[in-house]
Symmetry: D2
Subunit: 386 residues, 4 copies
């Protein structure tokens, strides 16, 4: 007997295979070329009809309220298509924002921001990262400022690499306040905000792009403060833990698909008198992919269990993120190599998956920052004075 | 509240720390120099007194009958000392042989072989591997033969790398029989058996060494057949699945200790004006160790769960073995590097742990054979004809 | 005192910096977007004016006739810009074709094909690779056939990944003949030839793309045979040895530029209170880049010396190619990582250089094929029967 | 026609093969077990008779005065046997000390120290490294002190990892003096010196071991100052550049031998129905060894050329050392893996070569320190302010 969750995985996978993959293939994973927000709306309608929409959302918004362990295989199934998570409304940054709002938002904020977000009626963006010398891999360098002004605040600063910003309905903006940092909920059409540029990044599958934003004396009220004033850095961690893991889940699906495409490819080709799939150097790449995928999945589930049990899982999410980001890109890179010329073309999905995966070693904390933090924890634990 | 199993981990670790580590350090992990079988008997007496002896053994023999998931942290705690598993009677090959006998042995065989093995009254060896061109990484090349002779069998052949053979009470001998391969239980003093050589391997912590054995018309009766005739290859898998995982458990303990020793070392040293433990290249090694250890542990537990649920876990045990063998040696190697000159000396445990760990990439299936088998499974699953 | 060759390097570098790099940056290395063949003609005119055009060409065509060792730094200087080699007329496949024609072509063929090629009046393509199951990484699988027909030949077959085919003036076509394989010089407008598709590869800097070609009973005369009938595979080696090395030279320039861009970037940024360029994990990436670049350069020059001394250098060119292709991509990948978000955008040249470099691990012999050939040589040298 | 130098390589290799390798094999590379200094004297006599003794020594001492490029293949041939460099009197630390004395020593010092050293009549040691917190990978932390006392000096301090100290005739001692550091030539029997311990390192092939030394008010005269007072750090560089390269030369020979032994081994074994030497994963290891050996050799010769041309070659020697130390250990490690069980035993030379090679990633500057220095040079060259 299949559990409800296994059934959801099966249905998600079937939906993605039939409705989403053909579009990804046709447009080489370029979401803007494929229709952008219009495509998103169309696909979400289909996902709703197929009963696979928003499996992570709280039940009050029609979601299934799946825990982290349960959502892992569902998100992975969705991630097999680059546009799959968008179709299910479980894509970054919306998915992480939904989680954050569900944890922290006031009643009014739930109605005004969370509900339409969960239903796919609007998108959101998370405006934390800044151009140098502001907050990048080191959030402590935050330069955007919120000044008290009458009964509210005036937000001023520059943001960069704000995924999904173009076309979003609202932003969660991180700004420096007297006692730390604070998050503000800001409708995108609020005066003083402008999208100054799309950063021309190598990846192309994220609707709304990665934008540079300018905030000039943008008025926000106290009712727009998300949670408590000065608690922004803490909330960022609330958001980041699960957001890192759901990234790993989604990319696992993409890397798994690249791997399967490559294994399928080499199983039909021969060279030097023997099938490619039986040649040792190819077997090595297949096996190393299996190992990297399995190890990522194991580390992911270990971290999910900690989060489901109420832990913060700072260390476990770092481990899963840093290992996963590197391992999954290795998988896609080996898949390219296995497929030869076809592997570096758009005729197979592997090159595009490698292209989309590469930045994951940088965003949500570059590998180097996670390693620094893992090392410092180890020194506290095992250092001579421990 | 601590569970009984957590308590056992704590006590095992304390026992190993106080009773076993000092001896390992004094003799640089050379078990023969430290006393060989005499040391084993002494340490097992202490382990029994400390209530940590044979936690894996069936309850009828005074063991705790722990499942795979439960034994993982206990074996890891024991493995922190190279002589620790011997002290608890959970070392290779005895531990795997005990498991095999418990699954397959007849009532008489349980009394005659399994009981004294479980109680540490005698050691055993598993005589499968042969010198080239016989059974090595490819068991199918088996050359040792058992011929029918009257009411019994005559076993003839050469064996090599038989761990623990010198001083063992009995051997489990794999020999070719008309319909396949059969396992025989053979007392070590049976006429026709000789230990022709200790292979001078780089590791030194296994009591009884790695021996070459010669069998010449050794008489064995039908009552000495382990399980059924011709089922030897199948039983080898019964033994190997868990045996690979318990290897990983024990070596995890050793690698974890090397890592802790290195982190402790760098936390007390400075160079070029900064503490070593805060220098990026050292932090990188610390973090990579944390990642390798965590990924090994995650893959191990994933496989243990499959076995505890009754699965064969061929793929999961391969994944854990091949990843673990390579990752744990990387950990020990980085630990050496972090400690500089001290790292390649016997003043710290790291060089000796690296030395003992290296062969694990070869025994119980070299990495290359596991990869070949993982690749072929993947091709069956994802190949074009799948 | 600077040698003429050092002076040429300096001038090449200055020319590329001022005339070529701005165009590459403006179009993110997309040669079609930047103007394609029109851009080529314009840049070659400028290169001629700057006195840096065709430094490799025989002196009779106005070139400098540089040997392999001498051309290495010149080609590297040109390779700093993705369009640089095109500007100097030293790009693949023209450069390799020029070399081949210079070695093998008859007097008439020199006038008709080599001279305009050397002067940049027309481009060429090398039509060897075929779609599966034809000649790919294994040239022996050649399926295109040249049948005797009257006083000439009829060539029929499919070709794939033919770089620069669209817009080329002529093709060197490899076809099976009764006693082996033969190379034919075929004007691109000969009846029976069609360009059926541009393979949508990830790289974008090669003018004329990577095409699929169809040859149907294309008439070629005996005067179109390049060299001798049935000697095609041997000529392919004549072409490939130096062609692999000049690839390494050009990509060295690109990787070196990516490295310099990254070092410059990290020298201006700080995080966690310290300049990025002084953080150990960044220093590690910088140093590993220096090591990979230096080792590539050393292996390249070792091979160039062998060729300049008249050797075939099969082994040395393989070593330089396989190491270089992998090492230089590592360099570009680390450069991306060092630059964080900017590294995966078109704001810096590093992502585009990584994109262009990746296929080099596949073309001109995938790494796996070179390794197979290196291994077999070693076995012949050191195997037990050697 | 063979050049004199090629002839020397041939003869060196033949000498090592017939006279030295059998002894290494018999004692698993343990020089103390094989006879220590007595063995050295015997082998050097044989080397003299064979005309291969001290090829690097100045001609006035009967050497051949070979330059760096010329000595590379000779030292490599000697390094094929772990005791080979000792037999030719070209082992560390004597070989580096000879070079340093030849550059810096006064006439009297040449007669008293350099001449007997060149003739193999006594050994020497280079006493720079200290126990923490003294001079280790960071020479600037030097704690040993030379105080002015009457017409001479009193040297006091602790030294560690002083290779060859036990049995050496004299030490070159680095000590802090008012204006920097100074080198002193000190006979080993001078009062106040004691060898307090042999550090139990994993390697065993260096005669005289790696010792801890204690200097207590050891009297040295002005005539014992090597070169000028306060110039010690500069001389250390004079010594280290070539010494690093000759290390690489010698270890190249050892790694090359491990590689050949492994290729020979796999060429005689089969598994799973095919010769090991034709299985892809084995071919990969063979090819990667060929690549690592060739790249090490290329980087080595590049650096040798710089030194022969009078350059300091700080960067080139670092590149060759750091790459070589890591690549050659990879070669030995792969050789072990290729040979399976035999590979981790003393039945083949590969395990012992891996054991001897491992510390080379630490001594003469750990890989991390070389990388730091390479990175800082690159930042000075390419950083934004460059």
């Amino acid at each position: 007997m299949t559990s409800p969750s296994e059934d959801l995985v099966t249905r998600t996978r079937a939906f993605v295979e039939s409705e989403v993959l053909p579009l990804e293939d046709a447009f080489d994973g370029d979401v803007a070329a494929a229709g952008g927000d219009r495509l998103r709306v169309d696909l979400q309608k289909l996902a709703r009809a197929a009963g696979v929409f928003a499996p992570h959302a709280p039940e009050e918004f029609g979601g299934l309220g799946l825990g982290m362990v349960e959502r892992a295989p569902v998100f992975e199934a969705a991630g097999r298509a680059l546009f799959g998570p968008m179709a299910l409304n479980i894509n970054a940054p919306d998915e992480g924002n939904l989680h954050l709002l569900d944890q922290v938002a006031s009643g009014d904020q739930r109605a005004r921001y969370l509900a339409p977000l969960a239903r796919g009626e609007q998108r959101s963006a998370f405006a934390m990262t800044e151009p140098p010398p502001g907050a990048g891999s080191d959030p402590g360098a935050l330069l955007t400022v919120a000044r008290r002004a009458g009964s509210g605040w005036l937000v001023t600063g520059q943001k960069k690499f704000i995924t999904g910003a173009d076309g979003a309905g609202f932003y969660i903006v991180m700004a420096r306040t007297p006692g730390g940092a604070t998050m503000f909920l800001v409708p995108a059409d609020r005066p003083g905000i402008s999208i100054t540029r799309h950063v021309p990044t190598m990846d192309r599958s994220m609707v709304g792009g990665h934008c540079e934003l300018s905030f000039t004396d943008v008025e926000v009220g106290d009712e727009d403060v998300l949670g408590a004033v000065d608690e922004g850095f803490r909330y960022a961690q609330v958001r980041l833990g699960p957001a890192r893991l759901t990234h790993v889940m989604r990319w696992l699906g993409a890397a798994q698909r690249a791997h399967e495409a490559a294994v399928s490819y080499v199983s039909t080709r021969s060279a030097f008198g023997a099938p490619l799939a039986r040649q040792g150097m190819v077997e090595l790449m297949i096996a190393d992919n299996e190992i990297d995928l399995a190890a990522t999945r194991s580390l992911l589930l270990t971290a999910c269990r900690v989060l489901d049990a109420g832990g913060a899982g700072r260390e476990e999410t770092s481990l899963a993120k840093v290992f996963g980001a590197e391992a999954l890109h290795r998988v896609a890179d080996r898949a390219m190599q296995m497929c030869g010329g076809a592997g570096v073309s758009a005729d197979l999905p592997v090159a595009r998956i490698a292209r989309e995966l590469r930045p994951f070693r940088i965003y949500d904390g570059p590998s180097e920052v996670h390693r620094m933090s893992l090392a410092r924890r180890a020194v506290r634990r095992y250092g001579a004075s421990a």
